[in-house]
Point group: D2
Chain length 276, copies 4
């Protein structure tokens, strides 16, 4: 921390989120957050709360945990019948995840953060859909940014896709559609860098169309989560951070992005903070 600036990497959670946009990939229950009120200022104004002796508003949310800026927990993806650490996938039942619940990360999502602004280093506004980011491109970006990657880093990779969708005023094609993202070969790079977590500004981190044969969807996820035990951040809003880093040439920061410790959850919305 040098200048005391705090930048949030969260989209606001509301009906303007990416769920419900056109997609060739059915959403299976992912909707945008539905925020509703339990008591209101209009109740207060109407005098109906005064019998309780306080004029207060309350609210609630119905929210798929993967609907916006979020962490994928280790219970989110299985390889065959197993999740990370060899746990049986049947540990994730309708009652939630008995192993690898997101609450286990309660005090873990804190560390050194690094932004890798790939399109800026490659001289592009944004990476095009289908651009498979390689380990070499990530290394090149770090080098150009003069930032060293260290074991235990939280690495945030900008593709610019979210900014393009926001500028267009439509999320169509974002959830489950074609996207720039990590190449399958970055698995080796992840292993080598020994990062703590990896996040990006796309729906699913991984390049789409996927680099896989028919019938295999998100192959990089098959490995990163259940085999490598990597926590993954998706739908991160990085525009403001990227602009700040470009301005001050400092691409490292304190990164604090606590999950909500919902017991047995396989993911969590988060409001990730970069503190510079």
């Amino acid at each position: 921390m040098r200048k005391g600036k705090v930048i949030s990497l969260a989209l606001n959670f509301d009906q303007h989120g990416p769920q419900g946009a056109k997609s060739k990939y059915p959403a299976l229950g992912r909707i945008n957050p539905l925020h509703t009120m339990l008591r209101t200022g209009t109740d207060a104004y109407s005098g109906v709360l005064d019998k309780r002796g306080i004029r207060a508003a309350d609210d609630m949310v119905v929210m798929p945990l993967q609907c916006g800026t979020q962490w994928d927990g280790l219970g989110h993806v299985f390889y065959e019948n197993f999740m990370w650490n060899g746990y049986d996938c049947r540990e994730v039942t309708s009652a939630g995840a008995q192993k690898c619940g997101i609450e286990k990360t309660k005090n873990r999502m804190v560390g050194r953060g690094v932004l890798l602004d790939v399109p800026r280093v490659l001289g592009m506004d944004i990476l095009p859909d289908g651009h498979a980011i390689t380990g070499a491109e990530l290394d090149k970006t770090a080098a150009a940014q003069k930032v060293e990657l260290r074991k235990g880093d939280f690495i945030i990779v900008r593709t610019g896709q979210m900014e393009a969708k926001l500028a267009a005023g439509s999320w169509d094609g974002y959830p489950g559609g074609d996207a720039p993202g990590f190449s399958f070969e970055t698995l080796e790079w992840i292993q080598r860098t020994q990062l703590a977590a990896l996040a990006s500004d796309t729906w699913g981190c991984e390049v789409r169309p996927n680099e896989s044969e028919a019938g295999i969807n998100q192959p990089w996820h098959w490995i990163t989560i259940p085999i490598m035990g990597m926590t993954m951040g998706e739908i991160f809003y990085v525009k403001e951070l990227a602009e700040d880093c470009a301005a001050d040439k400092v691409y490292e920061f304190l990164f604090v992005a606590p999950a909500l410790p919902i017991t047995g959850a396989v993911g969590s919305p988060t409001n990730p903070l970069a503190i510079k």
Copy 2:
């Protein structure tokens, strides 16, 4: 940050939370979080996900924003027909808070944190219900802990009540019941210390029974939120932090407790982190 230890001040969000416990104060829709699954590991095991080419679990939550460890936003309490900054309370409708939504705090809940362990300094295990914590007691606690309070601090005050409830295995009496908490006269102390936010381990921060005449509930809230514009943290789990501070005698830390930026919300669950 000195020793790199991260301590979460959140209760896990689940059916074991304080909502639904016996209370003389009706809850008006506050339930414990309802976490449900949209896809499971048992689906994966059963082979029914394979047609999508990935074995993944998803989940959702139905959650009153005031059900557990949480921030009260500035739209949470009104004084007569007004909220903080003189905004009309009718800005908080069934469609949410058009002013003072919690999303406005998106990058604000970061700063120096201080724990005030009042019962420990007073030589008690926990403060009894009805104990009205005074400004003098808070100052005495800070002095005994050899920690200076500074403008902009996030001050976390331990009463021990939550620990007693957890030890008893029952939340009965916690939500809306009698409790130790801030005396009405701490308003002057809050003004003087120029703190950023104040939090405690009780349901409502304020001493209960309240120091008010009949028909006025939570009088301290009437002032702190709409008049003083103070953000308040409730249902914070401080046991682990208190033990750590007692052990190393260091009562200050970096405090990071981002709200989920749910647009128009009057509060938010949070996973507050003390980073020492």
Copy 3:
């Protein structure tokens, strides 16, 4: 009842409902029903339920009460500050309707039903958007169908709009868009026929664009619900019933359409049955 045939007038409640379709009228929280599971057959298959001694599935729904085939209760619309019977509109708070809750209709939605198939009598497949159905057209339809209208009838009016949307495979324009529907002058006809309730196959019964000056939306609703105390059915699926009536020339039936008695609700989903 003559032939013992039962015809449902409900759309299935699912993600394929009309909410979320393109509309110039913002939906204010109306989403399609979100049906999720609490226990599944895949849990059963995976053996994780056996410790309970029974293999069973459970489920839940998150459902705006106005999202599909539904009754508008008498607490749904206000005229200035009043609802039906002169009750103050402030009886409908965030805690629900203290007056005119839908549970009051628990045993009331039973009676003689009559289908008025207006487009069929007018020689049209469907009524075009903006067609304002008049009392004269309704009388003409009844006469052509050789069915007498009696006091206390449940009158179901077909416009055909829903069938056109279903045939098109898109609800765009249905929720809040232009539609055929009741003319403002049918208020007199409603008064004269002394019907028990009136329903149609459109989103809002009333012709759209409305017959009103700027700034007044759904003027017919302003009168029917709070002034006349009429319960209204919307988004009724009448295709099968209309075909059956056209075939047997019998346009009357026993009509049973119980609301779910959700205490304090201002409306209810329903599965209306025509029993012929």
Copy 4:
């Protein structure tokens, strides 16, 4: 239908329902309905709706489908890996029931209803917990009531347990607790009578403690639903109907109890009507 009287057999759906009561049987996500508002009369009074040109209230519900008066669908219970008709239990996934969804019953829950008021015939106020109702008792009740049972009947059996809980003002022990109910041997009686559906006023129809060895819970359910294909009604409110039948000595009626056709649901709340 003789006298034109309509009696509802539904409990109101609200926070006063049986879920959350003390029970030795964990509820796995079954909560009482949570009814919340999307727009209110207090919004109307406050003038904040006028920009839409209509003062209207809307609402929503979060409701486990098994939380109150309800039908168990044929996808609710499995025998080993199978549900009714030999369908694989993996047809009921997190995405709902692909077979035997409750929507299939859309137009089916109509027929002759018969009330069997067992305690009245046995000379008791209510049947005690653990009383296993036999086929002989059911036949004796029908005979004493001078009502003939016919193929295709909807048979409603009163135990009185619900009335006792309502009178006591507490549901403790009701959900999953000891109860009077059907003996295992009534399976033969069900087969013989060829009834359409069977309902009762208890949480689970079946006698509890169950007539089974350790580790088998609700053995009668294991057979009735997946093997016999019987639809079952639970938590029916029969007090008013029983009093009416005792008064007029007529124990038969038209019974109409449509499920909400929620696609893929394994059960449904219902407002069953007895029309005499």
